[in-house]
């Protein structure tokens, strides 16, 4: 409480009127439902209440998944957005483009990427697909795990015909035989369920830092000017993570994740296949693999000419807020400090 | 020629327009619609070279007179009307109506075009009433005046019709009603019946004669048709082309309404046609080439 009051004084002079949070959202029955922990934060209402006590409004901006990343980057650069929970790749691109960001809270173990092969193609590994046509939407975050997969197998993109295509059109392309395989997110599981093809590989079989990650990023300027407000936002996410980590809330979390998105059985299947305990799915810990992941994203982006300047991944990570939140909420030790998944 | 006042004139006629009362010494009758044209020249510039279309036009039209102008294509007769009505004001010389120099359009001068130019998006009634828009006729009386003029051209019952629903002759009569509704001192008619078939034409000619006799405004009509010119005109101006000049002015000293079979009309028609066809219509060369071939102007 005293901390709160002190914070109030610290940012009193130039406190913003609104804190804006952007998050990927899906339309569901006439409403935008926010993906993952943001959904819990919004429903919880704690953050809204805390901000209101300081006379600050909370604005949550939904962004559609298809155009989410550029939209959030544009919003960050125009200072229309203060925080966003979105992907690793666009965040690196924003930083390289001169929009300073801070990773203020990791959000879990990352998202798996799937390699789906259409029916009638006899392939069991990426090497079997040599010379074949692979659908991949370029410039999207799942390009990175695919690239790592190629590297690990001593393959080059030129060993395949890479077909740049929107994920919405990918199932039809697989079904029609226009492409032989596709790199997809968990919609790949849906392709499998529809009987169009089957998954031959996913990042679940790869080191933890191969997964596509999404975190809570804060706008650099905002974080340094308003550490108190940043702390509040991070607190709210930790609360949401702790709530989601409860086994009792497991079913609710699965239902929420499926809303406006994939069928619930796909979500359940994906979650069930995880090699780590349920609570770790929501871990906000700055584990070594998180740092390693951002180093590798930054290096990949530079190596492939996607950005022109080296991004300092260490400067991106800011673990002060999570540490304080864990301490304040007495959650130290609740989540594992080291890597929890991976076969390597 | 003397004209009797006609009792059927619409009552608002007695109101003076904004431009009347210029020549106080003259009688009210002679003050309405006296047109004087003197030394009128008009040229167009076509691809850099000036071409004379009207050359030294002198003409006086008495108030209440009906003057017809005939001539071959290119004699500048339509241009002359555009100058008189004020749609074109680039000329040298003088055009005066009741002593006032013509510079722009005015409600004193009405015109009926060959194409009726009724607005297709308005009913007959609305088209006629449109002409009263900028007059000082009170709004309460406009409907009656419009109805009177529609009746004058025998179109009662078609008030709500759109132009496309009218026949050519009806549309042309509607255009005459629109031109007359403002009570212009001078009504100009630019081949008003040119687009009509022969039978309709005769019919509208009779109508026009009746209307003129009823209204007694000054009218100047341009036409290709010599017979029509003679049938309606107190005088017929014969023009020759390249450049447009008045070649002859014919007096038609017959009372109205006229009989088409009148031998006088037939004789005059033959005379005028002979005059028109005799004139060389050389269009191959420029105007200066024609100049010497043309007979001198016969002016009275």
């Amino acid at each position: 409480m005293t901390g709160g009051l002190a914070a109030c004084h610290r940012s009193g002079a130039n406190a913003p009127q609104t804190v804006t949070l952007a998050s990927i959202a899906y339309p569901d029955q006439g409403h935008q439902v926010y993906n993952g922990l943001t959904g819990v934060v919004v429903r919880d209402g704690w953050l809204k209440g805390e901000l209101a006590k300081r006379g600050i409004a909370l604005a949550v901006t939904p962004v559609p998944t298809a155009v989410g990343a550029p939209l959030i980057n544009e919003g960050f650069s125009a200072k229309r957005i203060d925080f966003a929970s979105y992907g690793d790749f666009p965040a690196i691109i924003a930083v390289a483009g001169g929009v300073p960001l801070k990773l203020v809270a990791p959000l879990g173990q990352g998202q798996d990427v799937y390699l789906v092969v259409r029916n009638g193609i006899n392939a069991h590994s990426i090497a079997d697909l040599k010379g074949k046509r692979i659908a991949l939407h370029r410039g999207r975050p799942w390009e990175l795990p695919f690239s790592k997969l190629l590297d690990a197998n001593g393959l080059k993109p030129t060993d395949f015909t890479i077909v740049n295509i929107n994920p919405a059109a990918t199932p039809a392309a697989l079904a029609a035989g226009s492409v032989d395989a596709a790199v997809l997110l968990n919609d790949g599981l849906l392709v499998e369920k529809k009987g169009i093809g089957h998954v031959i590989w996913s990042t679940a079989q790869a080191p933890a830092d191969w997964k596509m990650r999404a975190e809570l990023f804060g706008r650099g300027g905002f974080v340094s000017e308003h550490p108190d407000l940043t702390q509040l936002v991070v607190d709210a996410y930790i609360r949401a993570a702790a709530w989601s980590a409860q086994d009792a809330n497991r079913e609710q979390v699965i239902q929420d994740a499926s809303r406006g998105f994939l069928p619930v059985d796909i979500i359940r299947k994906e979650y069930a296949s995880a090699t780590y305990p349920w609570r770790e799915r929501f871990s906000p810990i700055f584990r070594p693999d998180v740092g390693a992941h951002y180093h590798s994203v930054a290096a990949y982006a530079l190596a492939h000419g996607l950005v022109h300047d080296q991004v300092d991944a260490d400067a991106l990570l800011d673990d002060r807020f999570v540490a304080k939140a864990l301490k304040d909420q007495k959650l130290e030790g609740f989540w594992a400090a080291g890597s929890v998944s991976g076969t390597h | 020629m003397s004209f009797e006042p006609v009792p059927q004139r619409p009552p608002h006629l007695s109101q003076t327009g904004p431009q009347t009362g210029i020549a106080g010494a003259e009688s009210a009758r002679s003050a309405r619609g006296a047109l004087t044209i003197s030394s009128l020249d008009k040229s167009f510039t076509i691809s850099g070279t000036a071409r004379k279309v009207l050359d030294g036009i002198n003409l006086t039209v008495r108030p209440g007179e009906f003057v017809s102008i005939v001539g071959a294509s290119g004699c500048g007769k339509s241009t002359l009307l555009r100058l008189i009505v004020g749609l074109d004001d680039e000329y040298t010389g003088e055009i005066r109506l009741d002593g006032e120099r013509v510079a722009t359009t005015s409600l004193d001068r009405g015109i009926v075009f060959q194409d009726h130019r009724l607005f297709p998006w308005m009913t007959l009634e609305q088209n006629v009433e449109l002409a009263l828009l900028n007059t000082d006729v009170p709004k309460s009386r406009r409907a009656q005046i419009v109805a009177d003029h529609i009746a004058l051209v025998n179109l009662t019952g078609f008030e709500k019709a759109y132009p496309h629903q009218l026949s050519g002759g009806m549309a042309q009569r509607a255009a005459i009603a629109r031109a007359l509704v403002t009570e212009p001192k001078l009504l100009l008619l630019d081949e008003p019946l040119g687009a009509l078939d022969a039978l309709t034409r005769v019919h509208v000619q009779n109508e026009l004669q009746r209307i003129w006799m009823q209204q007694r405004s000054t009218m100047v009509m341009v036409t290709h048709d010599v017979e029509e010119a003679l049938y309606l005109g107190d005088r017929v101006i014969v023009m020759t082309p390249h450049p447009g000049r008045i070649r002859r002015i014919v007096d038609v000293d017959l009372p109205h309404p006229r009989d088409r079979r009148s031998p006088v009309l037939h004789r005059l028609k033959d005379e005028i046609l002979a005059e028109l066809t005799a004139a060389p219509t050389d269009t191959t060369d420029d105007a200066r080439g024609n100049l010497v071939l043309l007979p001198t102007r016969e002016d009275r």
Binding site: P64, P70, L71, G75, A168, A175, K194 | R117, F119, P163
Partner: protein, 258 residues
């Protein structure tokens, strides 16, 4: 004289092609295999339609999309008509803005998105701007052409009766340009409708036909995609017919075409 002179018969003939299309569709769906991705059987589609009607999604979607399309149309077409008329009346304005607008017209919407994203974020405003832009250009071009093509002979009539500038505009230019204005408006409406769906599909919103379509694409629910396509087509068609009727009554003064 002909069967086609009877309205119901004509209507029935018009149904043959869609019916054949549906039959072909059903046949494709029944072949199974890869076709299942692009063709859902008619009974599945019917089931999805029932589901969406019963839970109210379809009605809410249609209402939201219509509202978006018409708001965008209202703003875009009004501005377009005003600017088109102004450019036709003042040649200087035309010479200054004409080429620029003509070039801007050719810029695909994707080019605007970053700037729209910058100024309007992902709010409803962004979608509205996209719809407004789509509605703006046809309205502007046709209004311009309509006013520019008003025949001189009609303007001369106005001159003869001493029309003021406003009388000339209201009594001659506007009605004479009306057919073209309405043509532009019809095009604007079609573009606004398509843009509303596309904006919902690509830019996200909470309710709308495009939203449901996009969601169904994610979930690979062909039946729902087809229902939304059908509703989109039907509403677009209905609007088209309505506009046609309004146009006919507004332009009753025009002679029939033949």
């Amino acid at each position: 004289m002909s069967l086609l002179d009877h309205k119901p018969a004509r209507f029935a003939v018009g149904l043959v092609a869609p019916a054949l299309l549906l039959a072909w569709w059903q046949w494709q769906a029944s072949r199974g295999g890869s076709n299942a991705v692009a063709f859902a059987s008619l009974s599945t589609v019917g089931g999805a339609a029932r589901e969406l009607i019963v839970n109210g999604t379809l009605l809410a979607d249609a209402a939201a999309t219509l509202q978006r399309a018409f708001t965008g149309l209202g703003i875009g077409a009004t501005l377009g008509i005003a600017l088109g008329i102004a450019m036709a009346m003042w040649p200087l304005l035309d010479r200054l803005l004409g080429p620029l607008l003509n070039a801007l017209r050719q810029v695909p919407m994707i080019g605007w998105l970053p700037l729209i994203g910058l100024w309007f974020g992902s709010d409803e405003g962004s979608e509205l701007i996209v719809i407004c832009l789509s509605a703006f250009f046809p309205a502007m071009l046709n209004a311009h052409a309509g006013v520019a093509q008003v025949e001189r002979r009609y303007l001369e009539v106005g001159q003869i009766y001493g029309f003021s500038a406003s009388q000339r505009f209201r009594r001659i230019l506007l009605p004479a340009a009306m057919p073209m204005l309405l043509t532009g408006l019809t095009q604007s409406l079609a573009f606004a409708w398509i843009a509303a769906i596309a904006a919902e599909l690509l830019m996200g919103a909470s309710v709308g036909l495009g939203v449901t379509m996009q969601q169904a694409q994610t979930q690979q629910r062909l039946d729902i995609i087809l229902v939304t396509i059908a509703v989109t087509a039907a509403i677009g068609f209905a609007i088209n017919q309505l506009v046609y009727r309004i146009r006919s009554s507004l332009l009753a003064w025009q002679a029939p075409a033949q």
